[in-house]
Symmetry: C2
Subunit: 72 residues, 2 copies
């Protein structure tokens, strides 16, 4: 698996869960306390978020980390 | 949950899985291509590894990310 595939797969998963939650990308960024440009980079695989940032995303979606990574 | 709990919980999980695999911390660090001091910091919650580093750890343990984060 190329190095950036995990970033792409993770971003796709975040977007999928965020859309399912009914939040816009901007609202979700605000909810997580992240810059909107950073959230955009996360969803498009441009960012390599830290463990703590990943936890913030899971908390923002109201799900467990194991659920967030399911199928990735 | 305090900010560093995810780091501590993650480090504990990595250590648990690494010990179960039979690898020493040094051997696992070499296997992952990480500095031994960095692996020590990961296992003790001192590091905040990136998504790509987390994927490298899962691959080094031969497990899926969903399994790695199970129960964290």
């Amino acid at each position: 698996m190329p190095k950036d595939s995990i970033r792409l797969n993770f971003g796709y998963r975040i977007r999928e869960l965020r859309v399912a939650s009914g939040m816009t990308q901007e609202a979700f960024a605000d909810h997580c306390g992240f810059a909107r440009t950073y959230m955009s980079r996360i969803e498009t695989g441009g960012a390599n978020p830290s463990l703590e940032a990943v936890k913030t995303l899971a908390d923002g979606l109201g799900i467990e980390l194991g659920e967030l990574f399911k199928g990735i």
